[in-house]
């Protein structure tokens, strides 16, 4: 992950390449964290909703519920994100 920090050659093209590598690594690190967070929360919420009485294995209906639930949780994230960003940009245009 930190190969770019150990690069030994120099020169401006190398520096530009190292800069790009650093930015990409930061970008993907942040993206990974946010996907993980969404999955963790989604798992927690859907487990609570779908597996109300844990049995010896996940039943078919529990699996169907989990499948739909995680899709809906991601829908909820998208909807919330759109609403929140809409509000923030509206308030930036016309501060009360």
């Amino acid at each position: 992950m930190s190969d770019f920090l150990r690069s030994t050659t120099s020169g401006s093209t190398d520096m530009a390449a190292r800069k790009e590598a650093l930015m990409n690594s930061i970008r993907s690190e942040i993206a990974l964290l946010s996907v993980q967070e969404l999955m963790n929360k989604g798992t927690e919420k859907c487990f609570a909703k779908c597996v109300t009485k844990p049995g010896s294995s996940l039943s078919n209906s529990e699996q169907t519920c989990l499948d739909r639930c995680l899709d809906r949780y991601m829908d909820a994230f998208t909807l919330v994100s759109r609403t929140y960003i809409g509000r923030v940009s509206k308030e930036r245009q016309e501060p009360s």
Binding site: K19, K49, C65, R68, A76, L79, Y84, I85
Partner: protein, 87 residues
């Protein structure tokens, strides 16, 4: 150890990190709002898509939470103002 980034590159990277951090904060707030509003609005068994009322509830939930947060800020500010006037 590699050469240090030149000054222009360092500035560019600093601005980049700041942008990414702002984006990450926005994302964290969205995650938090999603969790809160999910609990309030999605009470039944998940189906293949949201019902109209669930969708409406989620959007209202975000708006009203932001109103609430503004309301509380104003309230605290009013209290502080009162304290300042009476002292």
């Amino acid at each position: 150890m590699a050469d240090k980034f030149d000054e222009a590159t360092q500035k560019e990277l600093a601005a980049f990190v700041e942008r990414e951090q702002a984006q990450a904060r926005l994302n964290a707030t969205t995650q938090n709002l999603t969790s809160m509003c999910w609990d309030k609005c999605i009470t039944g068994t998940p189906s293949t898509r949201f019902s109209r009322s669930e969708e409406g509830c989620l959007a209202y939930c975000v708006e009203r939470f932001l109103d609430t947060s503004l309301f509380m800020v104003n309230k605290i500010e009013g209290k502080r103002e009162q304290a300042r006037l009476s002292s």
